[in-house]
Symmetry: C2
Subunit: 244 residues, 2 copies
DNA sequence: CGACGCTTTGACACAACTCAACAACCGTGG
DNA sequence: CCACGGTTGTTGAGTTGTGTCAAAGCGTCG
């Protein structure tokens, strides 16, 4: 069933609305302009005008926001199949930065092209709206995590959500995945200090819930973690919408 | 310039793309089905299927998420001109609840109708995508507030952002506005305890930065607050996008 | 080998939470 | 009219989660 052109993006959007051949063609075309970024390079800089959106093909990204005092809040870690900077295009300027956490391959699309496509292919426009909505929902969940969960619960939740997202694109098994995250960046994602992340990881390890080392996460006790985190599945792409 | 039909919604979307007469007509039509909710009533229930979106005409709403342990995280307080539940329509089911913080008047639009309109009027679809993006950007800012600001900084930021939003729809002056918020709900918005909000409010009062009582906020020292919060203006609707 | 990035640990400080009590302000009903 | 419960705001005392600072361990790589 999979062909070279059946991209992660197409699979993702197709889970929202069934797409026509034309629309599939556009999606293939959209992703023709491949660019590589080295680990650490910036794809998007906070405060700058947004010229293009990216569709991540391989590797990990990191969306974050810097504060005047030097603090950093990680908003999201884009993984293959995710859009980067789509929101920024609409808002004209980027409210956050995005950098490559590993070497990454992206497809770049100029802003005017994106707008033109949304105009000509409203169903694709709706699919992008859906995708942006999904991302927004995850940010909301992240907000809940930081606002109303302890650091330990939040970390458990973070790992569970990441596992599920990675599983959707075939980058995680039920119980483990590889990642480029260090304790410092996890701290900035959870809004706690690096030292505290270390302590929490030790606790989770000692309670045989999960291990995180050498770029690998092993989930030792899934139901225990879910209970700790109060986790509910993402429930993506259950059934398609009846879109005229 | 303003007519009866030049709604807050139309004004808001028009700041993204210049709209045709047809499109304006659709927006008027969209908002014909007015419904009133009493204070405390639920507009949207977390976990339920989303049948309709609402455009808030008057009053305050409250978007929030409940946790299994009874905790509550407020995501956003919709004010007149805001969309409620647009994201939920796309995602089929609501990931959060929304209740009326005061008596409210909304315009209700059935989900299929929204989808139909996005299909027929791609420019309106893009405008809605823009609106959802804006909301998402505010949630991100909220995330930063909770994750990387102290409770005091966060509260200052919260008040400043609210003031700016209210000013856009004529519900706040430079230095004050009325509101239906109590300390408990502010606590759930900032992710801290009710008691702590009280103490922080006292500090802000004692430092002559702001007062909040009897449903009224008075900003006593704008630049002092901005400095404390590390606040940057929302920068909405600077100039319109060149949308073909 | 030394330098560097990342992790781990300890000691201490502080922000924020919990529990508890009380005050002020309603609207309601006897 | 006052007594009453309910809601919201205020304050204090003690506890706990998390932050800060500092030091050391341990890989990797030039």
């Amino acid at each position: 069933m999979d062909t070279e052109f059946d991209s992660a993006l197409a699979r993702k959007l197709n889970s929202f609305v069934e797409m026509s051949k034309d629309e599939r063609g556009i999606l293939v075309d959209l992703q023709s302009n491949r660019i590589t970024f080295k680990r650490g390079q910036a794809l998007i800089e906070q405060g700058q005008a947004a010229h293009e959106a990216f569709f991540l093909q391989s590797g990990w990204g990191c969306n974050f926001k810097m504060l005047p005092d030097g603090g950093r809040q990680v908003i999201r870690f884009p993984i293959p199949g995710d859009c980067i900077g789509l929101r920024s295009i609409l808002l004209r300027t980027s409210d956050h930065s995005c950098s490559a956490l590993t070497d990454v391959v992206v497809a770049a699309v100029e802003a005017p092209r994106m707008l033109e496509i949304m105009n000509k292919y409203p169903r694709l426009g709706a699919a992008f709206l859906w995708s942006v909505s999904q991302d927004a929902a995850m940010v909301v969940e992240h907000l809940v995590s930081i606002g109303r969960r302890s650091a330990k619960e939040g970390l458990a939740h973070f790992i569970l959500e990441l596992t599920e997202r990675l599983k959707l694109v075939g980058l995680a098994t039920e119980a483990q995945f590889e990642h480029p995250l260090n304790q410092s960046i996890i701290a900035d994602a959870l809004g706690v200090s690096e030292v505290h992340v270390n302590r929490i990881l030790r606790e989770l390890r000692e309670q045989n819930l999960l291990t995180l080392r050498e770029g690998k996460v092993n989930i030792l006790d899934l139901s225990g973690l879910q209970k700790l985190a109060g986790y509910r599945s993402l429930q993506i792409g259950r059934d398609k919408i009846d879109y005229a």
